[in-house]
Amino acid sequence: MAYTGLTAPLVMMSMFCGFVSFLVPWFISKGPNQGVSITILVTCSVCCYLFWLIAILAQLNPLFGPQLKNETIWYLKHHWP
């Protein structure tokens, strides 16, 4: 499968987190817990997005590759695309 690198996952994740943090708050019903609910949504999406972003950026330009055992290489050579 040909990878498009960073763009496709970035767009998907940004859209999802943007949806959760910018769109859903408008639909939270007004009540005593509205403020807390919106805080929860925004904080959650920020944390999750940041963590995912760190993970993908760390792997964007690897400086070294995995060192594998010969058995693993033999298996992966034939079984992974």
Binding site: V36, F51, A55, A58, L60, F64, L68, P81
Partner: protein, 829 residues
């Protein structure tokens, strides 16, 4: 945002309660649980207060209740929980309750005493009949067969004919552990002038006092000689034996035995009646006691609250001061009107200004309560300062999950918490008494979120019980590497380890879209990659968290109107933090984005750059990351260092200037507005909005508070704490890396050594299946015990520490106190 963002507005109110209706009003307030009374009679001792007599009466009643409760407990019965609403009784009802309680207690005491006496009597009778009933071998046999020979002297005593050689008997019962000692002593003391026979009783008798069954020993001593007889009696007295008269003739003994048995039967009947009556009384106690206990407790609480009010003799009413939330004032008014309507004169409420710091009130529901609890465990927030709890709801489980990330373990934790949450309304669960269970149950929402986030971070770390899953195809192609580098099977057989080179085309296809690539879990050098990734992740998360903390401080400064602190504290803090550690984050991100595998051999080291930045030096072998770095870095360091004196001296000098300006301005006219500016930096202002009357001149009081040296000292401590803390706190966030590494390694060990060893056993299918059962059991037990419980507690603790120290010391002081309203509800319900 609602009241979770900061404390609700709490005001001091003064209540005028007419004497006739005071009890009813306070009782109603206790039911509602709205206000916290202030003790206006603090200088008066407990014995001199107005309602001390009533309090004492309640306490005496409670003592009697305790006695009744103990009796019920001794009988093995349980007191049922009181049901329904039980208001505090009126003072005239107290007399009735007192009478009934005393009567019950007296009855109970009488019946108990009777029961004890009857039991003791029965015990004696049983012993006696046992002694008479049990045959004691040779002496009796001798008396049977040698009837006329009974009177023959058994021993020729040299003493003379005046000695009486008739055989006498002493019969009795002795406790089993004393029997051997008794026998020995008898033998030694009487030198063989007696024959003693000891027998164990066949049935066990209950001790009348303790109720424990004991096996008594009966004995029959036959002796001759008066002196011996006296000795024997003394010895048996010494041993507290029960001695009964023993008649020689068997018929007489038999009649005596029959009489005894009849007596004991009658006694048992009477005892039965007594015990039936006792259970009747206990039943009444069971029914009546619980509601009385609740009522008297409420009554005592009301009198203790009334003791805190001061008396106004001119107006014939009690004056109380209480803290009340502004939102609850209408309810308070209504309650007081309702309770005092019967008395004719109604109770009055009105607000009064106060310079003391009001208590903090934050209303929580059962979800937010646990998060507010962990914030309050560090310290209850000052009145109206920003509350970290709403952010903690997410950041605490998130930081926990960063240290705990594993899909399998997170799922187990989530399911456990879900089970508790779904069963939270069951009465069996609510009334459980086990401490550890209650702790876990109280934090069920916390565990729920922790489990959920752990599942997410487990997906990012790509670990499920330490195994990676390839949801998306891996971004590393071994086939391409093998084809391009000519890795034939023969070649592979010779080389045990080979590395994939990202520089070779087609080997690295792109970053894994969601998380860590699964190929790393198969790699021997996976720690080299993961350590670098996790350390940088920790620093990024740490700097973000701390910056967020500093930004929250802005809300505090704005709310309390301390605008100078925005410019003189928040801005320098942000520049220092972001200039140094924000720059580090920038370096990390820049290197991730810009340095490719092509330049891997000469990749710059961020660590060296960072060290050189502080030392104002450079390493020739370390190439710069971006052009202009040699200029940017020293600039940032100088800028950060320049912020330190601003932070150190800015606020104190500003406050000094304002103080002098106000001082010079006060001589012409008092200026009320400057009172605000003269407060010490950390004093929060209490409800300045409700300024009806000013007690005295605030300017004079505030002036007395402004001590220049204290302000400077305080600011110096704050500066040192912040600047040194920046460095140490950033390093402290590296525990995110350390703990996640430990967790990953532990779960990998468990997987590799236990379950994989079990799964890779050769042999027959059936044998392997059977062996797998204990192997899985061991794996499951160790997973739960070590990885879930131990690692879970550890990660919980460290996440808590990160919040309490690294996050909260940027903006939170936590030196307030909670509003604890006067309420009849018992803690923990």
């Amino acid at each position: 945002m609602g009241s979770l963002f900061r404390s609700e507005e709490v005001v001091l109110v003064q209540l005028f309660l007419p004497t006739a209706a005071a009890y009813a009003c306070v009782s109603q307030l206790g039911e509602l649980g709205l206000v916290e009374f202030r003790d206006l009679n603090a200088s008066v001792s407990a014995f001199q207060r107005r309602f001390v007599v009533d309090v004492r009466r309640c306490e005496e009643l409670e003592k009697t209740f305790a006695f009744l409760q103990e009796e019920v407990r001794q009988a093995g019965l349980a007191l049922p929980l009181p049901e329904g609403v039980l208001p505090a009784p009126l003072p005239r009802d107290l007399l009735r309750i007192q009478e009934e309680t005393d009567r019950l207690a007296q009855e109970l005491r009488d019946v108990r005493g009777n029961q004890q006496a009857l039991r003791a009597q029965l015990h004696q009778l049983q012993l006696h009949s046992a002694v008479l009933g049990q045959g004691h071998g040779p002496p009796l046999a001798a008396s049977h067969t040698d009837g006329p020979l009974e009177r023959r002297p058994l021993l020729q005593s040299p003493g003379g004919p005046h000695q009486d050689l008739r055989v006498n008997f002493v019969a009795g019962a002795v406790e089993p552990h004393k029997a051997a000692a008794l026998e020995r002593l008898l033998w030694r003391a009487c030198r063989g002038f007696l024959i003693a026979s000891f027998r164990e009783m066949q049935q066990q008798l209950e001790d009348p006092v303790t109720g424990e069954p004991a096996t008594w020993m009966t004995f029959l001593i036959s002796y001759w000689g008066e002196q011996i007889g006296r000795k024997i009696h003394k010895i048996t007295d010494c041993f507290h034996c029960h001695v009964f008269p023993f008649v020689e003739q068997e018929e007489a003994r038999r009649t005596a035995l029959q009489q005894l048995q009849q007596q004991s039967l009658e006694l048992q009947e009477v005892l039965g009646e007594t015990e039936r009556f006792l259970s009747q009384v206990l039943g009444r106690v069971q029914r009546l006691l619980p509601p009385w206990q609740v009522q008297i407790r409420k009554m005592k609480a009301v009198y203790l609250a009334l003791n805190q009010c001061s008396v106004s003799t001119t107006h014939k009413c009690l004056i109380a001061e209480a803290w009340c939330a502004t939102r609850d004032l209408p309810t308070l008014q209504q309650a007081l009107q309702g309770s005092s309507s019967e008395a004719g004169v109604s109770a009055v409420v009105h607000r009064i200004p106060c310079r003391d710091m009001p208590p903090t009130l934050i209303r929580t529901n059962r979800f937010t309560a646990s998060f507010q609890g962990i914030v309050d465990a560090y310290g209850v927030g000052r009145y109206q300062e920003v509350n970290p709890a709403p952010y903690t709801i997410i950041t605490f489980p998130f930081l926990f999950a960063v240290m705990f990330g594993d899909v399998g373990h997170g799922l187990l934790m989530f399911l456990f918490a879900l089970a508790m949450v779904l069963a939270e309304n069951r009465p069996a669960v609510k009334t459980a008494q086990n401490e550890i269970w209650r702790t876990f149950f109280g934090g069920r929402y916390l565990l729920l979120l922790m489990g959920l986030f752990s599942v997410y971070t487990g997906f990012i770390y790509n670990e499920c019980f330490s195994c990676a899953t390839a949801v998306f195809p891996s971004g590393w192609s071994v086939a391409a590497m093998a084809n391009q580098s000519g890795w034939s099977d023969a070649f592979l057989a010779q080389q045990p380890l080979l590395s994939l080179d990202p520089n070779v085309t087609g080997v690295f296809l792109g970053p894994y879209p969601f998380g860590i690539d699964p190929v790393w879990s198969l790699a021997v050098n996976h720690l080299s990659f993961l350590n670098s990734f996790k350390m940088k992740m920790s620093v990024i998360l740490g700097v973000t968290h701390m910056t967020f903390g500093v930004v929250l401080g802005v809300f505090n400064h704005v709310h309390f109107g301390q605008w100078h602190r925005l410019l003189l504290e928040t801005l320098p803090e942000l520049v220092f933090l972001l200039g140094l550690f924000g720059y580090l984050v920038f370096l990390v991100a820049y290197k991730w984005l810009r340095v490719t595998a092509a330049g891997a051999a000469s990749a710059p080291s961020i660590l060296i750059h960072f060290i050189n930045m502080f030392l104002f030096s450079s390493s020739p072998t370390n190439r710069p990351l971006f052009s202009g770095q040699e200029v940017v870095q020293p600039t940032l360091v100088v800028l950060a260092l320049a912020m330190v004196p601003v932070l150190l001296l800015g606020t104190p000098l500003f406050l000094c200037r304002e103080h002098r300006r106000c001082h010079s301005r006060r001589s012409p006219q008092p200026d009320k507005d400057t009172a605000r500016l003269l407060d010490l930096p950390d004093t929060s202002l209490a409800s300045q909005g409700s300024d009806e009357e000013k007690a005295g001149c605030p300017g004079d009081q505030a002036e007395a508070e402004f001590v220049l040296s204290e302000v400077f000292m305080h600011q110096a401590i704050h500066t040192i704490e912040f600047c040194l803390g920046c460095i140490s706190n950033t390093a402290s966030y590296l525990r995110l890396w350390a703990l996640s590494l430990a967790h990953a390694q532990l779960s990998q060990v468990l997987w590799a050594m236990v379950l994989r060893a079990g799964l890779s056993l050769g042999g027959e299918m059936g044998v392997a299946a059977v062996v797998l059962v204990p192997v899985f059991a061991a794996f499951a037990v160790m997973t739960v015990a070590i990885l879930l419980v131990m690692e879970g507690l550890s990660a919980f603790l460290h996440a808590l520490r990160l919040h309490w120290v690294e996050f909260q010391n940027k903006f939170y002081s936590g030196t307030g106190y909670k509003l604890s309203p006067f309420t009849f509800a018992v803690e923990g319900e």
